[in-house]
């Protein structure tokens, strides 16, 4: 992808540490992500990939370090995290669609509750997004009536309804049956092509290689190696990376 704006740092992470009780899960992460960049985070289970991602919208509190999103230091207690979150969409492994609402209501609830749009505007936006993910006919279904792949596509539409400028994906295809992985990845590829800033924690090496501008390899709570997909996948320098790739490729 070529629409990266190196002058605009969307995410700046400095010396991020995260403890769960006495267990140090992130042991000092530094990262910068630019506008329009698609970054895939790969690495073995338990390496802290998801925790890192969840720190970026404060679903997990950083123990120490700074995280600057769009110029706001979200580790600063005075910063209204809800305002920052409005601009960061997140897609979860387990979809997490609201069970008590229809598909269209799932998409409309945040923009209308947060007074970003009127109900009519949110409905129009929701239907447009459902059209984009190929599910306009499911607007009045409940999440429980959809397949996993369909639920995840709705979840992406729900996140996009807030017009975010960063999208976080936390292993978005890991809970899907194999035949549904493709439909979700296709939606993500389109989004990447449109220039969305994306950070994707994934085990889909094919997707990481094809779509990302940069790949971060994490192990034991640090970023061991990063570079273009060609650099990381074809010519890894770090032993941990080599070891990991030899197992998954």
């Amino acid at each position: 992808m070529t629409n990266i704006n190196k002058d605009n740092k969307k995410v700046v992470v400095k010396d991020l540490h995260k403890y769960f009780d006495r267990n140090e899960v992130l042991t000092g992460i530094d990262a910068e992500i630019f506008e329009g960049e698609v970054v895939c985070v790969i690495g073995p289970s338990g390496s802290g990939k998801s925790t890192f991602l969840r720190c970026l919208n404060k679903l997990e509190d950083a123990t120490s370090g700074t995280i600057i999103i769009d110029g706001f230091d979200i580790t600063d207690k005075k910063v209204d995290i809800n305002k920052v979150r409005e601009n960061i969409g997140m897609v979860f492994q387990q979809f997490n669609l609201f069970h008590n609402m229809t598909v269209i209501k799932n998409i409309m609830v945040a923009p209308t509750t947060l007074k970003k749009m009127t109900a009519d505007e949110a409905y129009a936006k929701g239907m447009e997004l459902l059209g984009r993910v190929g599910l306009a006919d499911k607007a009045d279904s409940f999440p429980g009536e959809l397949s996993g792949g369909q639920q995840q596509r709705v979840a992406i539409a729900r996140a996009l309804a807030m017009n975010p400028d960063i999208m976080l994906f936390d292993e978005p295809t890991s809970a899907l049956d194999p035949e549904m992985v493709g439909e979700v990845l296709d939606v993500m590829k389109e989004l990447a092509a449109e220039g969305m800033t994306m950070i994707v924690v994934t085990h889909e090496m094919g997707f990481a290689r094809e779509v990302s501008d940069r790949v971060l390899f994490m192990a034991d709570g640090v970023i061991c190696e990063q570079g273009t997909p060609a650099e990381v996948f074809d010519n890894p320098q770090n032993d941990r990376t080599k070891d990991f790739l030899s197992k998954v490729l």
């Binding site: 919208n57 679903l59 809800n82 305002k83 979150r85 409005e86 960061i88 969409g89 997140m90 979860f92 387990q94 997490n96 669609l97 609201f98 069970h99 008590n100 229809t102 609830v109 945040a110 509750t113 947060l114 009045d140 279904s141 409940f142 999440p143 429980g144 009536e145 979840a155 729900r158 996140a159 807030m162």
Partner: protein, 235 residues
Amino acid sequence: MDFAKVFNEALPLLLEGLKLTVITSLVSIGIGMIIGLFVCLMKMSKNVVLRAIAGVYIWIIRGTPMLVQAFIVFFGVPQIIRMFVSDFKFTAITAGVITLSLNAGAYLAEIYRGGIMAVPKGQTEAARSLGMTHGQTMRKVVLPQALKFSIPSLVNQFIITIKDTSILSAIGMAELVNKAKTYVGSTYTFFETYLVVALMYLVIISLLMILSNYIEKKLKYEAKSKRGKRHRDQH
């Protein structure tokens, strides 16, 4: 056995008692639901003092028999209040409603809490990740689902509250059992009278169960068109 006699003589009396049973139950359930909601929110709050108050309240109510609570409210509390206000007295109905409400409130608080905890954490995370506040997340996402999870236990508690009104006959509240006791005291028609009383409870509680089944069906999370279709398919 003389059912005809009991029906003719006792029925008006018993229906009067039944009316009071139903009214006190409804009022107490209503008050109890509000108490329960506040106590539940207190028990789940970050504030240690609020949590402690809620915990002690639930502990005392659950740890003591309702009959003893009723005696304390009806006989004990006015005795204390009379030290400041002379001639203070609760009517049996007031004391009864207070006891039932406090009782239901404690149990309902725990039922609500169970319902809230049954909502998967991912639901909250998704709402918060969109920028919704804690309060908005509770109102739009968590509480509606929690209420649905709670319905079977809520109905169970409503049934218990309705039946527990009979305990209040002991403080002289003129509810169904109290009326029956008065009647059999003079006629000795124990079997017939108490059978009628039992049937009356059974009818009231059956109606409640029918209502709850209806509500549970209404709250199923599936598309309306499909619900209609399934309904038609059955016929």
